[in-house]
Symmetry: C2
C-alpha cells in the first residue's frame, strides 16, 4: 500500500524530481517519511497528485493549487473559498473549449484549402489564402 518516490513516479508517469518540487512548493503537505527520511506515498497522495496533474494540464497554476491546499489545511470552513477557485477554473475550461473549437475550425479549413490546391489545383478562395504560396 505505501510507495517509494520511484514507484509513485512510475505509477504517475511523472518525474520524481517534479514530485519533490511539488512537495517543496507546499502542494503535498504531510507526506510520510520512513526511518531514513525517504518519502512514503499512499494511495490518497497519488490520487491528489493525479488530480493536480489534471488541473495543471488544463492551465491551473501551481499557486492556485497551493491556495487550495492551504485552505484545505484550515478545515471545512474554507470550502466556499475552495469552491470559488474551482469555479474559476471551470470558467477557464469553458474558455479553453471555445478556443479549441475555434482552432479546430481554423485548422480544418486550412487543411481543406491545402487539399484543394493539391488535388484539384483549385484556385483557392482569396480570403482564405493568408499564407499559401506567396504572401501577397
Amino acid at each position: 500500500m505505501p510507495f517509494s518516490i520511484k514507484e509513485a513516479s512510475e505509477m504517475l508517469g511523472c518525474p520524481a524530481h517534479t514530485i519533490r518540487y511539488y512537495e517543496k512548493e507546499g502542494l503535498l503537505p504531510n507526506i510520510a517519511r520512513d526511518e531514513h527520511g525517504n518519502r512514503i506515498f499512499e494511495q490518497k497522495d497519488l490520487d491528489w497528485i493525479k488530480l493536480m496533474t489534471c488541473f495543471r494540464r488544463t492551465g491551473m497554476k501551481v499557486a492556485a493549487l497551493k491556495q487550495i491546499v492551504d485552505l484545505a489545511l484550515q478545515g471545512e470552513s474554507t470550502i466556499p473559498q475552495r469552491k470559488a477557485i474551482l469555479e474559476e477554473h471551470q470558467q477557464e475550461l469553458h474558455r479553453q473549449q471555445l478556443e479549441l473549437n475555434e482552432a479546430f475550425h481554423a485548422v480544418n479549413q486550412k487543411l481543406s484549402i491545402y487539399d484543394g490546391i493539391q488535388k484539384g489545383n483549385l484556385a483557392p478562395d482569396r480570403d482564405l489564402r493568408m499564407d499559401e504560396g506567396k504572401f501577397h
Copy 2:
C-alpha cells in the same frame, strides 16, 4: 485599407510590441513600410496574425509557425510539409480535448463533493475526498 501598428494592435487586441516581436521572429515576412519606415498592415496581414493567435492560444509554438511561414515562402511545393505541421497540431487539439473533458469531470465531481459537505453535511465518499478537510 492599410493600418498603422497601433490600429492593428487595437483591431487584434494584441500589443504592438508583440506584433513587432512576431515580425522579428520571421512570422510576418514582407510587412510593408511607409516613407518613414513605419509598418503598414493590410487586411491579409491581420488575418494571418489572427490565425496565428488562434493557433498560439491552443499551444502551437512560435517555432512551428515560423516553419509554416518559411515553407510558405518557398512556394506551393511545400504544402505537404505544411499539412503535416497542421495535422500534428490537429492531433494536439484532440489531446487537449481529452484533457479538457477529464478536467471538466474532475472539477464537477469536486464541486459536488463540496456542495454535499455544505448542504447536507453528507459524509463524502472516502475515495473522492483527497484534499477536503484534513489530508489523512
